[in-house]
């Protein structure tokens, strides 16, 4: 903060690299870490006798090289934006919540159940109600994690993951039992949604509206965190919870609100999976989007705007997985290894902040 202040005190002609350098740090270090991770992965490939050039060439081709590839990539982005928010929002408070998968499946189930009950209703009513149901259930689920943290001191990482497993068991039980569509014999599902209640694709593209919803959610989240007092309070609490409590910030309310907000985002992802893709809720809702979201949030350093390009990048990787399997005879887990290495690299790079002189301002030389 002192940096900013002393920068403004100097005359415009005196501002130079030292003034923008600190702002570059949060950009250069993660990008450097990403490249470092890709390099480490390339070494891994070379040791296995595979060509990194071929590999990244295929990633480019399958992820970003043709119009089809872009559709492939973007169609995967929508749920990832939302599940990444489920990690990023609580992370601003210093919480590590990794159970977004649970909110996705239960939110999707809630949307499907509500949608079935509303069959015959027009889209203008049905879709918002389904969205609200999904967000409510998802918000309650992860909000409970936050509540447990503040009321009982239960570690949120462990509790959110346990609740994800419990959510999956609940989904399976309800979809095969009370909420089962009797006609869905060989694949237990809820009843198929009315066509009116199905979310469609963006005009001319193979990508559904959840993509837009995800981007809007990221923008709202960014505004919330960076431009409101609520967000400001959260960032302070994220630095040191006890100090924030001492200062009288409503830490408990912040925690529950932010975890619930994250859960609502993940629940919304579930809604889109049900309404735009599957048309009903069933076991296929459990598709790992929650876990990829963790990686994206950390890579984006929990900045909601950065989540957008990171999600696109990672979706590109995942989109290329099939072609890599077929052309390079590498198993599908290769992309998982790539993601893991990049994740570790990004986390390790946290230690580099403040270490490089080039990023520290010459303001220290000011009297």
């Amino acid at each position: 903060m002192a940096t900013g202040a002393s920068t403004e005190l100097r005359a415009p002609e005196q501002r130079g690299i030292a003034d923008i350098a600190p702002r570059l740090e949060p950009l250069i270090i993660p990008i450097g870490a990403l490249l470092g991770g890709l390099l480490a992965f390339s070494v891994f490939l070379v040791l296995l006798g595979k060509s990194p050039v071929d590999f990244f060439g295929l990633v480019y081709k399958a992820g970003f090289g043709t119009a089809f590839s872009w559709q492939n990539t973007l169609s995967r982005v929508a749920p990832l934006l939302l599940t990444a928010l489920c990690v990023a929002l609580p992370a601003r408070l210093g919480l590590v919540v990794i159970g977004g998968e649970g909110a996705v499946v239960l939110g999707g189930l809630a949307a499907a159940v509500v949608g079935t009950a509303l069959s015959g209703a027009p889209a203008a009513i049905g879709i918002p109600v389904m969205m609200l149901a999904a967000m409510l259930i998802g918000g309650l689920w992860i909000g409970a994690v936050g509540a447990l943290r503040i009321r009982r001191g239960v570690n949120e990482t462990i509790s959110s993951l346990l609740m994800a497993y419990i959510a999956i068991a609940l989904l399976n039980h309800l979809v095969e039992g009370p909420f089962r569509d009797p006609a869905s014999l060989n694949k237990p599902s809820t009843a198929p949604l009315d066509p009116a209640l199905r979310v469609g694709e963006l005009p001319g593209m193979d990508v559904h509206w959840g993509f837009v919803a995800g981007i809007i959610a990221c923008i709202i989240a960014w505004v919330l965190i960076e431009r409101t007092t609520w967000g400001f309070a959260a960032r302070i609490a994220g630095g040191n919870i006890r100090a924030a409590q001492v200062q009288g910030l409503p830490v408990g309310r912040l925690i529950v609100c932010f975890t619930a907000a994250g859960g609502a985002c993940a629940g919304l992802a579930g809604f889109f999976e049900v309404s735009a893709i599957h048309g009903s809720a069933n076991g296929s809702l459990v598709s790992g989007y929650g876990y990829t979201g963790i990686l994206i949030a950390f890579l984006a350093r929990h900045n909601p705007l950065a989540i957008i390009p990171v999600a696109i990048l990672l979706s590109g990787f995942e989109a290329s997985s099939g072609l890599i399997q077929r052309r390079m005879d590498l198993p599908d887990a290769t992309i998982l290894v790539l993601e893991g290495i990049v994740f570790v690299a990004i986390l390790v790079s946290e230690t580099l902040y403040g270490r490089f002189r080039i990023f520290t301002p010459r303001a220290e030389e000011q009297p």
């Binding site: 014999l185 999976e273 077929r326 599908d332």
Partner: protein, 373 residues
């Protein structure tokens, strides 16, 4: 000849796709001649799981040996939008014109979403869902009646069991699985009508720890012949053999895992089905939209009988198999009740293996211990 028409179509596709390696094996006479037919296979799990996916992969391997055919495969593709993209990737980049997405959950909504966009590509789905009034013409279903295979398993089990209790580790209580459970028991009861079958549902198609626990629980209850319907029977077979029980296989031949305890197994014969369909396509014909067959049509085969099968068992097995091969064998024959006392079929009524009513089966026959919900 029609073969040329098909090759021009796949040539066009290959040309449109960027860098399609699949078209590389063109004949030396010129570009207009036969380019390969590229066939795509998609598996929901690993190809070598000793079970469901392996059975399909073995079929794909038979197709690979055919001249003029290139096969591309992808495994571990989940039943989400990812499979839609995998199919389109194979069409766009590899020039595939025949797709075999082999998991049940790929059909609705995924194949239904992709098929209309690629009318030149044929999508044959492993499952029984295609219906003429609802679904696109370039999609189709194929499946096999493997219930009769489990019936034959049951015969060997009926002879091998000393406790008169046999066991079944099942994934989910859907009609195909219930049919297998019922067939297994009815086969055993053809040997001895007092035999009972205990079923335990794991809830997942593939969950090793649960499958091991279920097998142990069955063995604890006294079951001494065990079979299963899960995606990868390896764990069930090994655990059952470890408890000293006999084993009947399913999906593929698991006898290498427990040679002494393996009685026989009901296996898919996809190689036969796939090569047939590919040949039809290569000769310019259209594959049927609804392809089904059982033992008598060579869609399903039985593993060789293991060393523990007695001669009496072998005789009854062979006799039953010969009956089945004639076609029209009836497993569900009245009078028969379910295990809750309701009547399934009164005397005189029966269901043949291809009866559509069996596809909505939601009961367990009398003699099966367990419940569907």
């Amino acid at each position: 000849m029609n073969r040329r028409t098909i090759s021009r179509r796949s040539l066009l596709k290959a040309g449109a796709a960027t860098g399609a390696l699949a078209a590389a094996s063109a004949l030396p006479f010129g570009a207009a001649h036969a380019a390969d037919l590229t066939v795509g296979f998609i598996y929901v799990g690993p190809k070598d799981d000793f079970g469901y996916n392996q059975a399909h992969a073995e079929g794909a391997a038979a197709v690979k040996k055919m001249a003029g055919v290139t096969v591309v495969e992808e495994e571990n593709v989940p039943e989400t939008v990812a499979v839609q993209k995998s199919m389109e990737s194979m069409i766009n980049f590899d020039g595939a014109s025949l797709m075999f997405p082999t998991s049940f959950g790929y059909f609705d909504p995924h194949i239904l979403a992709v098929a209309p966009k690629h009318p030149d590509v044929r999508f044959q789905h492993a499952g029984g869902l295609w219906s003429a009034d609802k679904h696109p013409k370039n999609a189709g279903s194929y499946f096999g009646y493997i219930g009769l295979g489990q019936y034959l398993n049951g015969i060997t089990a009926g002879h091998a069991t000393k406790s008169k209790k046999i066991g079944f580790v099942a994934a989910k209580p859907i009609p195909q699985v219930l049919m297998n459970i019922n067939s297994f028991l009815l086969g055993a009861r053809a040997v001895d009508p007092t035999i009972t079958c205990q079923v335990i549902f794991t809830g997942e198609w593939s969950l090793a720890v649960k499958e091991a626990e279920a097998t142990n629980a069955l063995a604890d209850q006294g079951c001494d012949v065990i079979t299963c319907h899960v995606d990868g029977p390896k764990v069930v077979v090994e655990t059952a053999a470890g408890r000293g029980a006999f084993v009947c296989g399913y999906h593929a031949d698991q006898s290498p895992l427990a040679p002494a305890n393996y009685l026989t197994g009901a296996e898919w014969n996809w190689a036969n089905v796939y090569t047939g369909m590919v040949k039809t396509m290569m000769s310019g014909g259209t594959i049927d939209n609804f392809v089904r067959g059982g033992l008598s049509d060579d869609f399903v085969k039985m593993s060789p009988l293991g060393p523990a099968v007695s001669d009496t068992a072998r005789n009854q097995f062979e006799a039953a198999k010969a009956e089945i091969m004639k076609g029209g064998f009836l497993i569900i024959k009245g009078p028969i009740n379910d295990n809750k006392g309701n009547v399934i079929a009164p005397a005189g009524e029966s269901f043949a293996e291809d009866d559509i009513a069996l596809e909505s089966m939601d009961y367990l026959v009398e003699g099966v211990i367990g419940s569907t919900s």
